[in-house]
């Protein structure tokens, strides 16, 4: 007994002719051609390698942006301070419908911006009597007093300037906060903060989570990226510096960020991620999905692919 033939699932048995086929020769020719093409492209176009931004280069180029960012880490208004999981519990994070996936996964990479980005690095500075005194004052103050100092400084910081090697903010009742922001800026400009942020757990490191979070809280990195057409609104996810093709295969992932509702959604990241996971699963299971698996037969593109075969029928 035979089953009914399903044209999108079953394939007819081939009863036609066979042609000579040298699989090893084909593979060798392909390898040689691809190798030559790769060498030619590398010689002609090279590859991009722009130096990494450091905290030192950032704070020397735009000291006020650095100092404002340092203040946002101290007063809890920075992107990292308000991020939520996996860095802290400051917010619930993005949600996919009712699903708070990030929150459920938990704050497994803890980052306390006050401690990790400001206080601990300042403690690492040697031979600074006023700073040592300021840190002692901070340590002995109540939370309410600290909040009050930071609030006074924040209020005046909109007029912040940088002059004669000092961060200048006209404020009173800010406790040691002006000293902290100024000394942290000096520390950053010397390069010492780059080291302090990666050596908190010892001499060796391959983990740049903290300096990268600090950098991304400021405007400097973003402004550089904008010049290199790398922002999300510039299809940046698939671009790289210069005129290189980048990750062109991410075009669909990037596309969703350009259109509504994703372009205006506060949960765009998790929504686009969820949509791409769904599309990937659909692609994987195309052979089982009626309608989708019929597209090749009904589109008749196969007539073009096998045109010689159909011509000879």
């Amino acid at each position: 007994m035979t089953k009914a033939f399903r044209p999108d699932v079953d394939a007819p048995e081939w009863k036609g002719g066979y042609a000579p086929y040298d699989i090893l020769k084909e593979g060798t020719i392909a390898l040689v051609v691809v190798a030559l093409l790769t060498i030619a492209l590398a010689l002609i176009f090279s590859s991009p390698d722009e130096h990494a931004v450091t905290i030192k280069s950032w704070s020397n180029a735009t000291p006020v942006d650095f100092a404002q960012t340092a203040l946002s880490e101290l007063n809890g208004t920075s992107g990292t301070a308000q991020y939520g999981a996996p860095y802290n519990t400051a917010s619930e994070g993005q949600k996919l419908g009712p699903l708070a996936l990030a929150k459920w996964a938990g704050a497994r990479i803890p980052v306390n911006t006050v401690r990790d980005f400001v206080i601990d690095p300042l403690r690492a500075l040697p031979d600074q009597p006023p700073l040592t005194q300021g840190l002692a004052t901070w340590r002995s103050a109540s939370d309410a007093t600290r909040t009050n100092w930071v609030a006074h400084y924040t209020k005046a910081a909109s007029q912040m300037t940088y002059a004669n090697g000092q961060v200048v903010v006209s404020t009173t009742n800010a406790g040691p906060v002006p000293l902290f922001i100024n000394d942290l800026t000096m520390m950053a400009r010397s390069g010492a903060l780059d080291q302090a942020l990666v050596t908190q757990h010892g001499f060796y490191t391959t983990d740049y989570t903290k300096p990268l979070l600090f950098l991304s809280d400021g405007s400097y990195l973003k402004n550089l990226a904008q010049k290199d057409h790398l922002l999300g609104t510039q299809w940046g996810m698939m671009n790289e510096t210069g005129s290189y093709p980048g990750q062109a295969w991410l075009w669909l992932y990037t596309f969703w960020y350009q259109v509504t509702p994703f372009s205006t959604s506060a949960n765009a990241d998790v929504q686009v991620w969820g949509l791409m996971m769904l599309l990937s699963v659909i692609l994987l299971f195309v052979p089982f999905i009626p309608g989708l698996r019929s597209i090749p037969r009904k589109s008749r593109v196969y007539r073009l692919i096998w045109r010689e075969h159909y011509r000879n029928l």
Binding site: G16, A19, L24, P48, P287, F288
Partner: protein
């Protein structure tokens, strides 16, 4: 009557492998006459580009992750690696669409299709971790942006794109291992089942 040798795992495995994939299927010297289109070139091109990606990646691995920033030879090898990756994805995407329009899952080839799709997805992850491991401005920007999507999915608690060491290990060990194993499996499946035949409107019986 079966002997002790017949019952051995090794004997059984060998006989099963010989039955599924005899030498004339593994290394064929003929193929059906319908296999005559430029679209078939992109499968072997993808494989050739993968060989180039691995070879150039091995050279970069030998000298370490900082080498290509400080040496002109290293920078050239990195350029080879980059362009081999670009050719790899270009060929792979065309191969994928070509196979889609051939409905190449027909005739018991579903797993061949699925291993191909998973290889494609694993390759995207491998490419991404490569961009994240460059230790330059591109990797700084890409990782600080990509973290939001990955963190929002909950995966960021375990897969920290800002951790250079973790990304490098995924890029040079785990994902290449997955991609290469899946590619080998994919190719063996193609050899076992052969290339999918053209659609035949007249056929009325299942033939596999």
């Amino acid at each position: 009557m079966t002997t002790e040798i017949d019952r051995q795992w090794t004997t059984r495995l060998r006989r099963r492998a010989e039955g599924k994939l005899p030498p004339e299927k593994l290394l064929p010297d003929t193929q059906p006459s319908y296999v005559s289109s430029w679209i078939y070139v992109f499968g072997v091109t993808t494989m050739a580009a993968l060989c180039m990606v691995i070879a150039t990646g091995c050279v970069l691995a030998i000298f370490g992750p900082q080498w290509w920033h400080t040496s002109s030879v290293g920078h050239f090898v990195n350029s080879l690696h980059l362009w081999a990756v670009e050719i790899f994805f270009f060929a792979m995407v065309i191969h994928l669409w070509g196979k889609f329009f051939m409905a190449s899952w027909r005739g018991g080839r579903t797993l061949t299709w699925m291993t191909g799709v998973v290889t494609f997805l694993a390759s995207i992850a491998a490419g991404f971790t490569g961009y994240a491991s460059q230790s330059n401005f591109d990797s700084q920007w890409i990782t600080t942006q990509a973290k939001d999507g990955i963190n929002a999915s909950g995966a960021g608690s375990f897969f920290n794109v800002l951790n250079l060491g973790q990304m490098l290990m995924w890029h040079i060990v785990l994902l290449p291992l997955v991609a290469v194993l899946l590619t080998v499996l994919h190719v063996l499946m193609v050899r076992v089942k052969g290339v999918v035949p053209p659609f035949s409107d007249e056929t009325t019986e299942v033939a596999r």
